[in-house]
């Protein structure tokens, strides 16, 4: 990262290759569209290149910082209505098809995916950051610019919504 601050393009390329998959997957889940995910990721890396000097290693982890930039880009784009709405087409790339599951389990997953897509953006983001991206609640709070308690509250609400919408389990 120090080399990137000094304008080292080789170091930047290494950084991009190391983190691009994680960022792309988060962008894909947030925007639910491959094209928009690519645009978000590209804008994120452009911002990283331009403002590398703002990164303070002692205060925040690099992964968290990168997710934060991407998250802000998403929120900005969402505000400008550049991204698809909840009712719009969801990209097939995040279709929860799992060949190893039986039809019933497959159906449950599809139902859950629909419910996650219907969650309010902040609840969905909190859920994705912690469950899919593997960030801690504190790190998710840093990404979203919220307090840890606020994120915990968002997660609790998201889980409650998902739980109530779950079909009766056959256990």
């Amino acid at each position: 990262m120090l080399a990137v601050r000094n304008g080292d393009q080789e170091a930047f390329a290494v950084l991009v290759r190391r983190h691009i998959n994680s960022l792309y997957k988060y962008a894909l889940r947030l925007s639910r569209c491959a094209t928009q995910a690519e645009d978000l990721v590209q804008e994120t890396w452009l911002a990283v290149w331009k403002s590398a000097h703002r990164f303070s290693p002692g205060q925040v982890r690099l992964t968290t910082w990168l997710h934060r930039i991407l998250h802000n880009k998403f929120v900005d784009a969402h505000r400008r209505n550049k991204l698809v709405n909840d009712s719009d087409v969801i990209d097939a790339q995040i279709d929860p098809y799992r060949p190893d599951l039986d039809a019933e389990q497959q159906q449950q997953l599809e139902h859950l995916q629909v419910q996650i897509d219907r969650l309010p953006t902040r609840q969905r983001a909190a859920l994705l950051l912690t469950c899919a991206q593997g960030l801690s609640n504190s790190e998710a709070a840093q990404v979203m610019g919220q307090s840890r308690r606020a994120v915990e509250s968002l997660l609790a609400r998201a889980r409650r919504t998902l739980k109530t919408s779950m079909p009766e389990q056959k256990v």
């Binding site: 601050r5 792309y24 889940r29 690519e38 790339q93 995916q113 899919a132 779950m166 389990q169």
Partner: protein
């Protein structure tokens, strides 16, 4: 918390684990990395300087000290002896002489 709640929580965790497993998603397309690297704008001189300065604390400290050092060097390099300095010496002697006279004057003599 009831048993039903426990079961629901467990089922939800299990399903979320399967659904939000990032390994199931495709990796970023190769052309995206190329696109990002090909479209990097050149850094402006100001951005380069800012980046260089903030890389380590000693660079920031050096940058802050540099104007002071420059001021000292300019100040000392332009030093010339003040021609009025001699006059000051003379004035000091005259002042001391007058002061001596004043101190030797008895009270009431001044009138």
């Amino acid at each position: 918390m009831s048993n039903q709640d426990d079961e629901q929580n467990r089922a939800l965790d299990e399903q979320l684990g399967m659904l939000l497993d990032n390994r199931a998603l495709p990796p970023a397309p190769a052309h995206l990395t190329q696109r990002i690297l090909a479209n990097l704008p050149p850094r402006t001189p100001l951005e380069s300087i800012a980046g260089w300065l903030q890389t380590s604390p000693w660079r920031t400290a050096m940058a802050a000290t540099l104007p002071i050092l420059l001021g000292f060097s300019l100040g000392f390099s332009g030093y010339v002896a003040d021609p009025d300095a001699v006059n000051l010496d003379v004035e000091a002697i005259v002042f001391a002489d007058n002061l001596g006279d004043y101190l030797n004057t008895e009270v009431g003599d001044e009138f």
